[in-house]
Symmetry: C3
Subunit: 381 residues, 3 copies
């Protein structure tokens, strides 16, 4: 089902995409495109096009490239190459009808758009706006790369993080603690001595930030910074240990940090119900099912949203695409969200379980206003 007033309202609404990344600026050949299509990898005999996300791209993105629905992968890629990245990006980004992007700038293995470039390519009826999300692990790793002394690490990291969040346009910080340690952490703020010892180990061992003490310190530094903290939870690539990133494992830390910063649980799948529980019982907790929606595709977006909303207060669900790299995912994320939420709400209206004015309000909240409220964005930005 895709008709009705709730769908119309969602189609008209400029979304706030509270967590996304840049889009690749260079042409993508088949291996490069397929690698961006999956959280896995390219494997012999298992094309990333033969996944729910790949099927959704051929179905929903092909027409935006003037192709038939379900166009074969080869045809799709040939047309994509013919149009060139600039035009392809423009088409999918404008189709997403996103008014505001909050861009995590800390992950960019490719040459990707800046937040301003992303917004520039996306403007449709009116110009889109971009804000920045500072990835704290990147800040910490920059500090370490500069060669700070272990006993100066805590101060240097805090100072660098403060500098980073004071840049114009920064609205939030983000942590990928999920990838580094998972959430079975001692919830307490580490002491200075513990941090120094851990920084010493890190200097000796090198590598990315993955020490449990330093990850805890990072999360507590986020509390000090005062901005909303976006946390990767659940689904990701195979660097995740899925059972360790169930967000309910954050409960002790959420108790200790109650009354401080908003905590934005990203992705969540397959723990969307656990995330819903946290959003229902902790004032500071919010959630989205970004990344998930374009990977499961429109046929399952509603089912995931139904679980995510089972007990979630309607002020607590946000929209994100978590798109990275291929512009298709900005369009597909927005489509799956609009259709999934629209079907969910319109069916409740049709069954008289929800009034139409309430449904329209909840759609605006989830699609834009909840993010505006948490990130204190100006109206229309």
């Amino acid at each position: 089902m895709t008709g009705g007033p709730v769908h119309e309202a969602l189609a008209e609404l400029d979304l706030v995409d509270h967590h996304c990344h840049g889009v690749v600026l260079d042409p993508l050949d088949r291996p490069a495109f397929e690698a961006l299509l999956t959280e896995g990898d390219r494997w012999p005999g298992v094309s990333p096009f033969d996944t729910p996300a790949g099927v959704a791209v051929r179905r929903h993105c092909a027409p935006l490239l003037d192709l038939e629905r379900h166009a074969p992968a080869d045809v799709y890629l040939a047309r994509r190459a013919e149009l060139g990245p600039r035009e392809v990006n423009r088409r999918f980004l404008t189709a997403a009808r996103t008014g505001v992007f909050c861009v995590d700038t800390g992950f960019a293995p490719h040459r990707v758009t800046t937040p301003a470039e992303l917004a520039g390519a996306a403007g449709a009826r009116r110009p889109a706006v971009a804000h920045e999300v500072v990835r704290l692990e990147a800040v910490a790793e920059d500090v370490a790369a500069r060669g700070v002394e272990p006993d100066g690490y805590a101060d240097a990291f805090r100072a660098a993080a403060l500098d980073a969040v004071r840049r114009p346009g920064v609205v939030a910080v983000k942590s990928v603690a999920a990838y580094r340690t998972g959430f079975d952490l001692d919830p307490a703020r580490p002491t200075d001595a513990e941090v120094t010892r851990a920084a010493r180990r890190w200097r000796a061992d090198g590598g990315r930030l993955a020490d449990p003490v330093l990850v805890r310190h990072l999360l507590w530094t986020a509390v000090d910074l005062g901005l909303p903290l976006q946390l990767h939870t659940g689904f990701g690539d195979n660097d995740i240990r899925l059972h360790r990133v169930d967000p309910s494992r954050l409960t002790d830390w959420l108790h200790l940090t109650a009354g401080t910063i908003p905590v934005m649980l990203l992705h969540c799948w397959p723990y969307q119900r656990q995330a819903a529980y946290l959003a229902a019982v902790f004032e500071q907790v919010y959630l989205d099912v970004g990344l998930t929606l374009h990977h499961v595709g429109p046929p399952r977006a509603r089912a995931v949203l139904e679980e995510a909303l089972e007990i979630t207060p309607f002020r607590k669900l946000l929209y994100s695409s978590d798109a990275y790299g291929v512009a298709e995912f900005y369009g597909l994320g927005a489509l799956a969200f609009r259709r999934g939420l629209g079907d969910l709400l319109q069916d409740r209206v049709d069954a008289d379980e929800l009034s139409l004015p309430d449904a329209l309000r909840l759609a605006r909240w989830a699609g834009a206003d909840n993010a505006r409220r948490v990130y204190r964005l100006p109206d229309g930005h």
Copy 2:
């Protein structure tokens, strides 16, 4: 879908609500009412009415107060105040068409009905009956408050528990071990010496019963008492660590206690499938999805019941409201159960996956007879 013979049979059936609490006797202003509407709290800008449960109250409870469906929260509360608690309670409790209540009397931060008062307010076509469920943590904490010596704690607790369950009308005991320690407990019965040491620590530290040895001791005392044991599992307020209350963590203890007492898994969400597994492989395990049903509301009650029944033997599912405080939840829990189970069964009949006589039998079992059987309730009581 809400029609058909299964729905009619469920509408006619007097439910056995095998786990609920008292209803508040005093008038409730908006803050007090909203606080009872959520497992979270009242937060600025996030009304508990803007949740699935709040939407369900405005939709399904407003008409019972002579209001339009989807009445605004202010109108709802004004009318509620106008009618007064006695009349409001009567309306919702009679609408629930519950014939038997098994009332957990160990949780009552407000002034609430006794079991007899609850049944008195609920009688519709014929008088309702109330039984009592003894919360063992409350018994243990009373014993401790009386100042027992540590080496006398085990005997004193057992004696007090025996006294409590010998009171007329007591049909079960309950534990909130989920809130105190979670289920990652050594499954073995603790020795006398261990209990004495733990009781000594508890006397020194004070506070509520939360020592893992004493919680284990409490669960094993329940085995000695011989009555069915109700266990909170899954969803609750933020005092829960959700990942530690997955009921499958009870497996070792269920092996050790096989052949003794029935174990009633309450709530279960989001672990209803794990609970179903236990009910399918352990003779003594039963389950309900109480509390969950009114929090997810009618639009999702069926989905939760579908998962709860995926492999559960039909003799093992029970009904509970787990309502506390506001009379709305007795009505809403019963409505969500009747409609959700009715839709599930009627659709299977319509698809010829289930015969109508079987469907009617399974509806009676889940709504009343399974509870009568486990708690050995007389017919009609």
Copy 3:
């Protein structure tokens, strides 16, 4: 919904059942039949017929015995006895339209068919073919029963396993590590000294193979053997600790063994989403929802498949019945799979979310070709 071209294609397709067991050769009285109908047990007052699987047998299997749909259990069993095991087995096995069986021969508490006998009873339009799956725990326990010295255990087990997999018709090995230790294992290959010490403990203690070091050693021996490894995950009888058999707990081991053998996650429920995640991010991981499908029955098979396929690459889902003992489960597993997958795919075609040629290809892949590819089965075998 059960019509349409996808259902027709699945009805015509000879399935590859990549994991099943033998069917009992002797007549079964009611207690024996009921015991095989459940992963639980026979309990007073709780008939295994009063479960989703039991209802499905009365609905879908009764007509194959010339009875009315929903025939009472007594009538069903009487007719079953009248026809005799040979005829009953023939009817259900031919109804399953399975072209290839991969038979785990390591679990047979009853007198059951050999793989060849199973295939012989199953041939319908053309002869069915059987391959063998070697259960490694059985091999290890045979080695131990022969009285090997602890420091010779590793070599003796490897030699015995090599002998076993070199038998004609062996296409895979299997482990029930899930039952013995769960998946919270040190992922590293144990040293020779560790294995010897563990083998010494095992010789002293006796019993089945359940030492964590020896279970790890078994899994690493499977890597050396080079054949696909089938792993029981999720749902089983009460010997499982469900929370310890979430397949995502295998992640570290999957990293260490990447690039070696295919790993086939069996059953998975209720962790089908976790299994889907692993299949999406590890090249070597595949999954099925066998055993689950006949226990949840046709009314829920689609829902389980929808979750299992939420992000799974379409090359990664396989069919298995995991049937054991009663021939009904071969028929019911095949029916639930064909109908569940058929409904899922046909609805996506009808909603224009999937092209019909793609749907037909995905059906063939899941029903047969994915298994042929992984197990390197000749076409038509």
